[in-house]
Symmetry: C2
């Protein structure tokens, strides 16, 4: 089955919000062997919505629309959908009770404008929204399925998980897909491509190899689509295995895991723990780790030592070190890492200090200068990086490089 | 001028990566009065790329394509664009030297596959990429402008900032847009809509009011498009002022600032400082604050006290408190907040402790139970929240609610 996603709302086109809903929906549909053909983000204008619905229906069997279901004037999805299906909106009493209930629960009077939240497409089925005031809707029309969901991520995700996916599971899909992933670290995309060129060239035509590079790592995706799923799975598995054997130790995972998940799993298995002492990354490494369930198995905590007083008071960095070498120096990150290791009682500690920018640079230490230290069981390693002007990218790059350094030291010290 | 963005790459359709490039591009083009009509994410297949280029050119004057410019087999954008323009690819010696130079800089041999990175569209202009191996390209074709950029965010952003935007500034735009923003906190979307209904209803037809709700806050956007920019600016300004007067103290900013930026600015102006003691938010509040340049003016640091030992050792939470009341309790967050205030030397401190999930819940404290404390100049306030099952949403909601509590206490204590 082929699907398309239409996200409706000026806020995406104006860059006010990043569309993270679509990636979530795509991932949620993959296990059902439903492939996203296209994602289209359009404005709240009626003619634009009509055009998008028409063209999506020409390519896909399932059209998922998010956004524009709110109570305010700029939300026109429902009325536009009624025009598209040549149907009307009818008030649903059960939904109205639910909306009233939400306001009652918070001891607030319901503004009249919210009555309209209970109006649903006459030709559709209500996807009851336990998590907000806008109901989802499911419409089967001329051989296609249309699903309308609110754009609020929390509500959309719950409606997808509890209403849409169970209904979709009842549909037989057309094309089957088999997928495998390989996560590699420390090899650049083009070197990796050369290393496996002969294997890739010998892939049968219906097998597809994709390179998904991120800073310091490349994820490979091997996929095949056809009709015989068991055969596809076997074929994809066999070619994946061949790639893994060729690439060797740079393969850190063969599931669709993030690098943080790989680290958490490996540390938990080895019963070693982690702490961070972050200056320029401002808690971003701790956040990346703790976003993942199970992090508490191995993560002790972090000290975000933004002010120099915090570096001294909490992490025990010596005042002379800060005075003689500065906060962004090898000496300081070593003391930060070892201080975090001690005060937070962790086997490994990461420390970062740098000039994230845009201000704070000097000729010797321009914006983008970063020192990272990793304190391990037997040694503390350090590295100086020179990144660029962009604050957010500097934070992101420092975080990834620090995790790579941590991984390398952990591998080296394994067995000690 | 109307623009469309086409993002090319299976990884977006498979949900492997979130398309954050498009929002960035949209924001970068707004000051040039260039409006994004549509964002389309498509696969790496040639026929799909051709179709997207054709339909975008029917609606827009400027088409920006990202992705698919890498050296590997799955990157087909360049060859497809050559077919679309009925032109060829030619090797550019200057680009080739640059690509060789990048590999030389890191003392690595250049894989032959990278030679192709220097092949550019014969009918276009090279947008020299100082930040990576894939050059951007600018093509003027049948009255439209086409821009091709790599999908790597860092490279795309630099090419946009240093190559594309300077060239676009030379073009006269067609429709002008005037925009104002109002950030409100603490009023729900529908209550806000009722409060300003008469003003909104009296808006002239070419003025548009949009509601951009997030947890605990609503951003209003007033915009108008037409030909006389000075007049539009005046009109939009006047209606924005009318809304601000009606809404009153719930307005925290009238620029397009994030809530974090508002807090940093207000704290810096008042010369008060902030620290956080985070358990369930895992450093996310520190990250939100430190992502913003200028945070060091008012942010002292954070302790991410994930393990109980960290709560005791670093923040001075009493062992009896943890034993008698548990880590997720009012008593614990009070001690965490006051401990952070003291150890990090801050005027205000936020503390969070909760069960983010999916594991760790109990009948008395189910997943989603969160305690937040704010220690201020004269008092420490607390609140218990009951969120839902989703770990990332619980982290996000806790972070926002904690910042709202901080803002309210800061407002109350202002002048002390």
């Amino acid at each position: 089955m082929k699907a398309e996603i239409i996200t409706i709302g000026d806020e995406i086109l104006l860059g006010q919000i990043v569309d993270s809903n679509s990636a979530w929906i795509a991932q949620a549909l993959l296990p059902l062997q439903i492939q996203i053909e296209q994602i289209t983000s359009i404005s709240d204008r009626q003619e634009h919505i009509l055009e998008a619905l028409q063209t999506a229906a020409q390519r896909a069997d399932l059209i998922i629309c998010t956004g524009g279901l709110g109570p305010t004037k700029d939300d026109v999805t429902k009325h536009t959908a009624a025009a598209y299906f040549q149907t009307s909106l009818v008030r649903n009493e059960e939904v109205l009770e639910h909306v009233r209930g939400i306001f009652a629960k918070f001891n607030r009077t319901m503004p009249d404008i919210n009555m309209g939240q209970a109006d649903v497409l006459a030709n559709g089925e209500v996807l009851f929204n336990d998590w907000g005031t806008a109901p989802g809707m499911w419409v089967a029309h001329e051989g296609k399925i249309y699903v309308f969901l609110p754009g609020v991520p929390f509500e959309m995700k719950n409606l997808m998980s509890h209403r849409v996916i169970p209904k979709l599971k009842a549909y037989p899909s057309l094309a089957k897909i088999a997928i495998r992933y390989i996560l590699t670290v420390g090899i650049g995309e083009s070197h990796l491509a050369e290393q496996i060129a002969d294997i890739e060239n010998a892939f049968p035509a219906h097998l597809h190899l994709a390179y998904l590079p991120k800073i310091g790592m490349v994820r490979l995706r091997v996929s095949a689509s056809g009709t015989d799923l068991a055969h596809l799975e076997e074929e994809v598995e066999q070619h994946t295995q061949q790639l893994i054997e060729r690439i060797g130790p740079a393969v850190v995972a063969r599931e669709d895991l993030s690098f943080e998940e790989v680290i958490i799993r490996a540390f938990s298995e080895d019963q070693v723990t982690l702490a961070t002492a972050e200056s320029c990354t401002g808690g971003n490494i701790a956040r990346l780790i703790t976003e993942i369930a199970g992090a508490s198995q191995m993560f002790q905590g972090a000290v975000v030592a933004y002010a120099n007083s915090a570096k001294m008071q909490v992490l025990g960095v010596a005042e002379e070190t800060l005075v003689n070498h500065g906060a962004v120096s090898e000496e300081t990150v070593i003391q930060m890492a070892q201080g975090a290791q001690q005060v937070l009682g962790a086997t490994y500690a990461i420390a970062t200090s740098g000039i994230a920018g845009p201000g704070g640079g000097s000729p010797e230490k321009p914006v983008g200068t970063v020192w990272v230290a990793i304190a391990g069981k037997n040694e503390t390693i350090t590295k100086r990086f020179q990144f660029h002007q962009d604050r957010l990218i500097n934070i992101e790059r420092t975080s990834t490089q620090a995790l790579l350094m941590l991984w390398n030291l952990f591998q080296k010290e394994k067995g000690f």
